[in-house]
Symmetry: C2
Subunit: 156 residues, 2 copies
DNA sequence: ATATGTGCAAATGGTTTGCATCCTC
DNA sequence: GAGGATGCAAACCATTTGCACATAT
């Protein structure tokens, strides 16, 4: 995790951006977050960190956007209403998303990825590292819990 | 297009829901919209239709949600900030989305779909009709237009 | 007759922005 | 010292909701 911080610091420096206290705090939190997180979740984590928040809402949002532009983070369309980020993956993977409960599972399937890449290429899209989201109508956990017949859950 | 309206009317009736003026207007507009549309776009279309709007914002949003629940429409995660709908496709297809300009292209690839379905199944997800979104970093149109070196565009 | 649908306007929730101030390079 | 970075609060934008009124069945 520490190397991730150092790495990012170097990336920022290389881009001529500054290395500040709030940025360090935020990055530290990000490194300790689950695989996918929303800006709001990151903000919450930062806030918990030490008393009254190590970085303001604006700073968190702006920094996340910056990191995305730098290629450190990647934005993924998992839920509606708010976007999620993940660290730019070293190894290709795609997301299985349950439309009902929002659960996300990462899977690797070279075959699927190759097929997708080829497809994109054929249509004139840049196909180096396509992000693949597969949204399905339900998952086993859902149907197990849907004993009571609840609707769709909320938080991923 | 007319059959789509009649069909939907029948679906509503079957579900015990009412067939009202505003709903007819909205549905008429939807049938004439491009393949993918946002709630706001639908609202705008309805507004243009005849003078001062055939259905209120609330009605449009509520009706779209209703149609989704009935399986007439499907929600697709194309852009961030707002969701898009499409009529529930008769034939499976997936979306190639350009992250830069937001352009969306529909493609059919039985092979990709089968691979995805199998993958989802293996992980315990319901795999009848998975929605597949492939987001790529750029498309030919983008790179052609990026002569001036603009950033990322906005509207799909 | 009665549950459903509608419109309005206000509330919500995530995200962005203007501006004065601060701090890294 | 200068320009990037921060914080605050207000602004934004898509979407949702409460409530009184209208209407399809």
């Amino acid at each position: 995790m520490l190397d991730r911080i150092r790495e990012t610091q170097a990336t920022l420096r290389r881009a001529g951006l500054r290395w500040t206290g709030p940025r360090l705090e935020v990055l530290g939190c990000l490194a300790a977050m689950p695989q996918h997180f929303s800006a709001e979740e990151a903000l919450e984590a930062v806030g918990r960190q030490n008393g009254r928040g190590a970085a303001s809402r604006a700073t968190v949002y702006r920094f996340l956007a910056e990191l995305e532009r730098l290629g450190v983070l990647r934005k993924v369309q998992l839920a509606e209403g708010h976007s999620h980020y993940e660290f730019a993956p070293r190894r290709e993977h795609c997301h299985l998303v349950c439309a009902q409960c929002g659960r996300v599972e990462e899977v690797q399937s070279p075959r699927l990825e190759q097929t997708a890449r080829r497809l994109a290429e054929e249509r004139g899209f840049q196909a180096q590292a396509p992000a693949i989201e597969i949204t399905v109508s339900g998952c086993e956990r859902c149907s197990r819990e849907r004993t009571g017949g609840k609707g769709r859950a909320v938080r991923p």
